[in-house]
């Protein structure tokens, strides 16, 4: 197993004692034009506010285009519910689960043929991958049942994809150690669990009893994923820190 090693990390100030001494002389310099001057007429926060207050959003939800969608929207509206909010959040979860499947594809590639932390197996990792894929299909089907279009990239789906870019970038870096890879999956699972819980609450408020039941099973699976990943990560860190033996993947 590839672990973090001690080497020539050059980033800290103590890594360059001579150059650092010269650099730190700049801290002793008296008032410097351009630093110790009056605040600029327009501050960074004012610039940001001017964009925020433009009212722009990343995008919109499409209007219902099927009879089922029109009818569903009208029925929900009678109860004071805005169906497009639910469809947006379902779109978010669907996007996350589809990308999550790809995240686990990357994890499977990362761990294939390598020694694994105690308690971890490729089968268990594959099982999570398959469950993520099934969750995506469940969400896509739910969106279609409600008269939505499961191929739409909704605004919340777009934002969750931006959030996930860091996870994807990290996990696909072939230089990651097993513990670093599992730490990335842990972040993904923590978001997933909390988001499923919120989605179930929302679906309940819309009276979607059947969906709530299926989503409950999905949440159960996600909690299992979280527990597994957390346990494997703990073992990986323990092995790195204390040099314990590891199992070998088939």
């Amino acid at each position: 197993m590839k672990e973090t090693t001690t080497g020539l990390n050059r980033t800290g100030i103590k890594a360059s004692p001579i150059d650092a001494g010269e650099l730190l002389e700049t801290l002793q310099m008296g008032p410097i034009d351009g630093i110790d001057a009056a605040a600029p007429p327009v501050t960074a926060d004012q610039l940001r506010m001017s964009y925020r207050d433009s009212g722009d959003r990343v995008g919109s939800m499409p209007p219902p285009v099927t009879v089922k969608g029109l009818f569903g929207s009208a029925v929900q509206a009678l109860s004071g519910n805005r169906l497009q909010v639910l469809l947006d959040k379902l779109g978010e979860r669907a996007a996350y689960e589809r990308s999550g499947t790809r995240l686990y594809d990357a994890a499977l590639r990362r761990f294939a043929g390598l020694a694994l932390p105690a308690g971890m197996s490729i089968e268990a990792l594959s099982e999570i991958r398959e469950e993520e894929a099934r969750h995506f299909q469940l969400l896509a089907a739910t969106i279609e049942d409600l008269g939505g279009d499961s191929t739409t990239q909704t605004p919340c789906a777009d934002v969750t994809a931006v959030q996930g870019m860091g996870l994807m970038q990290a996990l696909n870096d072939p230089r990651l150690t097993p513990a670093q890879a599992l730490q990335t999956l842990l972040a993904a699972e923590l978001i997933d669990v909390a988001s499923w819980e919120l989605l179930i609450e929302l679906a309940e408020a819309f009276g979607l009893d059947e969906a709530v039941q299926r989503f409950g099973a999905a949440l159960e699976a996600e909690n299992r994923h979280l527990a597994n990943v957390r346990g494997w990560l703990a073992a990986a860190i323990d092995e790195e820190a204390h040099g314990k033996a590891v199992a070998t993947a088939p």
Binding site: T11, I35, A44
Partner: protein, 391 residues
């Protein structure tokens, strides 16, 4: 030790080949590699991209050179790929930006000290203080937006202080043009310096234009928009110091020589053996390309290439911290402005540049806003109290 150009051979052009796997080698470690290895990678990518830019322009204007240009350009493109892909993906675009500005500061400062033509040296010092200021502004942005310390990229080699404030760097186009050297009389080093710095600046301009829109934060988008505009001015400035009366073939020859010179400097100074091997391979390739273009020059110009090439390559540009020189220049020349092709005190700034600047800054200055009251310290603004100098 200088390199003789009397008997150029190098790797023949038709043997300069790659596989995709060779183009995409293992990146350097952001944490462990020496900052000057990254400086060399960025600079050489700039030289390769300049080679492509020049050769495309040449192809558009020279029917009879198109095939030869296409053949050399294919290799240049793949060299650029192999070099640029050495930067690891754990560099955020802002961190890479810090590295680009370190290139601009340290390489321009090294060039300014060795440049034999006093007017050219002044031009480099003028540009240096502007890029030095960009480094400070981007450092503030990196800390305040991402919570990161730019010194982890700079590795204590470069100071982080305001230079000539970017807010006053905006000039009317007529104040960005400089007097060109005369190719018939200019020292070989003057020509190599001018092309090298122009190459680095056009790369930086293109980089900022590509990554500016990647940021979600409006102030980061504004900051890149503002500094990219200065980089465009710098490309204009450094382009204008090059003799425009040189023929296309002569300029091509000078470009190839610049690349040989650049890789030669990298081979001489690289501390990472794996990267040094790449520099050696590409020096050999560039020698082959230079030999190829020397033959073309003889065919197309019917004159001796030795009329425009030196006998030996000058000593390479040193890749090392130029802290003392930068501080001295900052002390003595930060208030200089450009008036036409001349450098003047800030009182002689032109009305055209003042008008232009006032209009551009009328709704606020991103570079002023982002660095408001910012003073770098280790771990930076949110870090522990700074240690004392001499630690």
């Amino acid at each position: 030790m200088s390199l003789s150009l009397a008997d150029i051979k190098g790797c023949p052009l038709d043997r300069q080949r790659f596989t995709w796997r060779e183009l995409v080698q293992r990146p350097i470690s952001k944490l462990d590699a020496d900052a000057f290895t990254r400086v060399r990678i960025i600079l050489m990518n700039g030289l390769e991209l300049e080679a492509l830019r020049f050769q495309h322009a040449a192809a558009r204007m020279n029917r009879e050179l198109r095939l030869a240009l296409a053949r050399v350009r294919r290799v240049e493109h793949h060299q650029a790929t192999a070099v640029n892909w050495l930067i690891g993906a754990d560099h955020s675009p802002l961190e890479t930006t810090i590295a680009y500005e370190q290139v601009a500061v340290e390489v321009t400062a090294a060039v300014a000290q060795r440049e034999p033509d006093p007017y050219m040296a002044q031009t480099y010092r003028f540009g240096l203080l502007e890029d030095f200021d960009h480094l400070y502004r981007y450092t503030a942005m990196l800390d305040r937006l991402e919570g990161k310390d730019a010194n982890n990229i700079l590795q204590c080699y470069s100071d982080i202080l305001p230079g000539r404030p970017t807010v006053v760097e905006h000039r009317a186009p007529e104040d960005d043009l400089r007097r060109p050297f005369d190719a018939a009389t200019a020292a070989p080093l003057t020509k190599l310096h001018a092309l090298t710095i122009m190459a680095a600046e056009q790369q930086t301009h293109n980089y900022y234009m590509n990554i500016g829109p990647l940021f979600s934060d409006p102030v980061a988008r504004l900051l890149y928009a503002e500094i990219a505009s200065i980089e465009e001015q710098h490309v204009t400035q450094y382009e204008s110091i090059i003799d425009p009366d040189q023929t296309w073939m002569e300029q091509w020859l000078q470009h190839e020589l610049m690349e040989v010179y650049g890789y030669y400097g990298c081979v001489q100074q690289e501390s990472d053996p794996r990267i040094k091997a790449l520099w050696e391979r590409f020096l050999d390739y560039e020698m082959g390309q230079l030999a190829f273009v020397i033959d073309l020059f003889k065919q197309h110009e019917r004159r001796d290439p030795q009329e425009v090439l030196p006998d030996r390559l000058p000593d390479p540009i040193p890749f090392a911290s130029q802290r003392d020189f930068v501080r001295e220049t900052l002390q003595s020349e930060v208030d200089l402005r450009a008036n036409g092709t001349e450098y003047v005190g800030d009182a002689q700034d032109t009305p055209a540049s003042r008008d232009y600047r006032e209009h551009m800054n009328a709704e606020g200055s991103p570079t002023e806003a982002v660095a408001d009251g910012y003073r770098w310290r280790p771990g930076t603004e949110l870090g522990p109290p700074p240690p004392q100098a001499g630690f």
